[in-house]
């Protein structure tokens, strides 16, 4: 178990390194920072001063290492728009994003899990077909289309809810509903296939054969085992709590991290984009690591098998 844990943590560290490297590479590829900041008209001495000030005249690998140092200290530059620390600008928006993504996550699980289990238990009946048809729609309807259609119905036609903005709890309903419905479709599909896989296993037949009531077979034999693959997808959703709302926030003008990212990209406010990229990368890696460790804890086969495979 200890080795499994260390391996997972090592993997996560490599991924973090890759994400920071990606940020460094695209930052350097975006052009000479001296020209970007000072403009093309500045005198050559100003460029030289700027470069030595920011260490841009040093070899690239020293710059690379320094970049790691800066990232680890949270020194990520200032927003070009209002000059405040980019970290602070992003930090202010995080609670607003979580205010819609966390309720949406609960909605996804509340609808998706029972729907998926239902579809698997009533496989090939009209219930299954109905649930799966709706679920396919969740995969193929883009969130901005669903969001706009919901806004068209509930805000424009019926006038029940505001179509965008923030401030009251009513503003949060449509974004939560949009993300919740789409995520529920994903969870339902995963849960269904996980359940079907488990229900086909010999131990389910054995449990039935020894005379257990079907209800008990499902609750105490099928569900716990089907929970394992479902855990992965839910873990991915927890990791994307911050990242998953980019489009939906823009549809409903919800002032969260996603909306900030879109405006920052449009204005090329590189410091803010970089902070969001790193922040989302770290949360994703952390969530994946947690799921991996939970996995190893829930399913002992996994940690031994992975070790034998040497990965």
């Amino acid at each position: 178990m200890l080795r499994y844990t260390f391996l997972r943590i090592f993997r996560a560290l490599i991924t973090v390194t890759l994400i920071v490297s990606l940020a460094f590479v695209i930052l350097r590829m975006s052009g000479d920072p001296a020209i970007i900041i000072l403009g093309p008209e500045a005198p050559p001495e100003a460029y030289a001063a700027f470069r030595s000030n920011w260490g841009l005249d040093q070899p690239i690998w020293i710059q690379y290492l320094k970049f790691f140092g800066a990232v680890s200290q949270g020194d990520l530059g200032n927003s070009m728009r209002d000059g405040r620390s980019a970290l602070q600008v992003v930090g202010e928006r995080v609670p607003l994003t979580l205010a819609i993504t966390i309720p949406a996550l609960f909605l996804k699980i509340l609808i998706g899990l029972p729907a998926g289990i239902c579809a698997a238990l009533y496989r090939n009946t009209y219930i299954d077909r109905l649930i799966m048809t709706v679920s396919v729609m969740g995969f193929t309807v883009p969130s901005f289309v669903l969001g706009l259609v919901l806004a068209l119905i509930f805000a424009v036609k019926l006038g029940w809810l505001p179509s965008g903005g923030s401030g009251t709890w009513q503003h949060a309903i449509l974004p939560i509903l949009t993300m919740g419905l789409i995520g529920a479709a994903v969870i339902a599909r995963f849960t269904r296939s996980a359940m079907l896989e488990v229900l086909g296993q010999p131990y389910i037949r054995a449990a039935s054969a020894k005379g257990l009531v079907w209800r008990d077979v499902v609750t105490s034999h099928a569900l716990p085992n089907a929970a394992i693959p479902t855990l992965t997808i839910v873990g991915f959703m927890v990791g994307s709590l911050v990242a998953g709302a980019v489009v939906v926030e823009s549809v409903f003008s919800w002032p969260g991290v996603g909306r900030l990212l879109v405006t920052a990209v449009a204005n090329r406010d590189l410091a803010v984009v970089q902070v969001i990229l790193l922040f989302i990368g770290f949360t994703m890696v952390f969530a994946n690591l947690t799921v991996d460790l939970l996995y190893g804890w829930v399913d002992p086969r996994l940690r031994t098998k992975q070790l034998q495979a040497g990965s």
Binding site: R11, I14, T15, L18, I19, L22, A23, I26, L27, M29, S30, V136, M137, F139, T140, V141, P142, S143, F144, V145, L148, V149, A151, L152, V156, S163, G239, S240, A243, G244, V246, V247, S250, V251, L261, V262, A264, V265, A266, R268, D269, L270, V273, Q274, I276, L277, I280, G281, M284, V285, N288, S311
Partner: protein
């Protein structure tokens, strides 16, 4: 692909000719091998293919032509006129013409991107399968890293830092989904390597390049094509999402997501501007997913 699509047809005819019952059974058999939903999906895909091939000929107007006096005309059956079947937008541009050009651009981008992703994925997957050891570990780490980040965030970051151009955008979209294809290609190549035919050509002295390109690739192509098919609608969704945000395809060019993005400002007064491309996106992604799933069920012997 046409060959594989013909397979079930010949099957249907066989079962039909073997039957002593009436034509009605033939019809049932036909719909059993060709479910109505799949037929509809294939019909929509064929329609899209025609649109992609002949877009400028089909479009009744130039997609950029403005006609200010007839701006915001609603579609036919909603108080509009037949000259603009799907109505016009805020600048009097014909929505149908814009839709046709948009479908072309979105589909072409998705197609090129999927091709790039497939090439990248298959190459890396084969390299991992051939070299094993360190190279494989490195590729697996790259796959894991790619899979652990939401692609939209990476795409937005790259667009922010490097600016936007059509070439860059297509290449960027080409990075979407390579990790899934690489994973599948690696797995399939490793198991193909252990089969008799690969060993046979290797013992005959064929070069690794020849073994992989002429023997293993054709043998695993069907599975790869299915996974490419399933990648395709996701690229359309990603592209239209980015274009919707105003960060993908830039005007004066148009794409499906772009149209929705602009139509959104007129959701109250002229919802058709936004609804027409939305329906096109949903129908296209839905059709390709249906056909992809259907092909997967057809090819995957474990599901039968």
């Amino acid at each position: 692909m046409t060959l594989e699509l013909n397979d079930p047809k010949s099957l249907a005819e066989d079962s039909g000719s073997g039957s002593v019952f009436t034509a009605k059974d033939r019809l049932t058999a036909f719909f059993e091998t060709w479910p109505p939903l799949v037929l509809f999906a294939l019909f929509w895909i064929a329609l899209c293919a025609v649109v992609v091939a002949f877009a400028p000929l089909i479009a009744p107007y130039d997609f950029m032509a403005m006609d200010l006096p007839s701006r915001l005309t609603p579609p036919v059956f909603f108080g509009g006129v037949w000259t603009h079947p799907l109505g016009t937008d805020e600048l009097g541009r014909d929505v149908l013409s814009r839709l046709i050009i948009s479908i072309r651009i979105s589909v072409v981008i998705a197609f090129l991107s999927t091709l790039i992703a497939a090439t990248l994925g298959v190459t890396l997957g084969f390299l991992a399968a051939y070299f094993r050891g360190r190279v494989e570990q490195l590729i697996l780490i790259l796959i894991d890293a790619q899979a652990s980040m939401p692609f939209m965030i990476i795409a937005l970051a790259v667009l922010a830092f490097l600016g936007n151009s059509l070439t860059l955008f297509v290449i960027l979209m080409g990075f979407y989904g390579w990790e899934r294809i690489a994973r599948i290609a690696r797995g399939l190549a490793i198991s193909a390597n252990e089969q008799g035919y690969a060993t046979a050509v290797r013992d005959l002295g064929a070069s690794p390049w020849r073994i992989y390109s002429r023997h293993i690739l054709p043998n695993i192509a069907s599975t790869l094509i299915v996974s490419m098919t399933l990648n395709f609608p996701e690229v359309i969704l990603l592209e239209s999402g980015l274009s919707f945000l105003g960060l993908g395809i830039q005007p004066p060019m148009t794409s499906l997501g772009n149209m929705v993005g602009y139509g959104r400002d007129y959701i109250q007064s002229a919802p058709w501007i936004m609804l027409a491309p939305s329906v096109a996106i949903v129908l296209t992604t839905l059709s390709i997913s249906i056909v992809g799933d259907w092909m997967r069920d057809l090819f995957d012997p474990t599901l039968k």
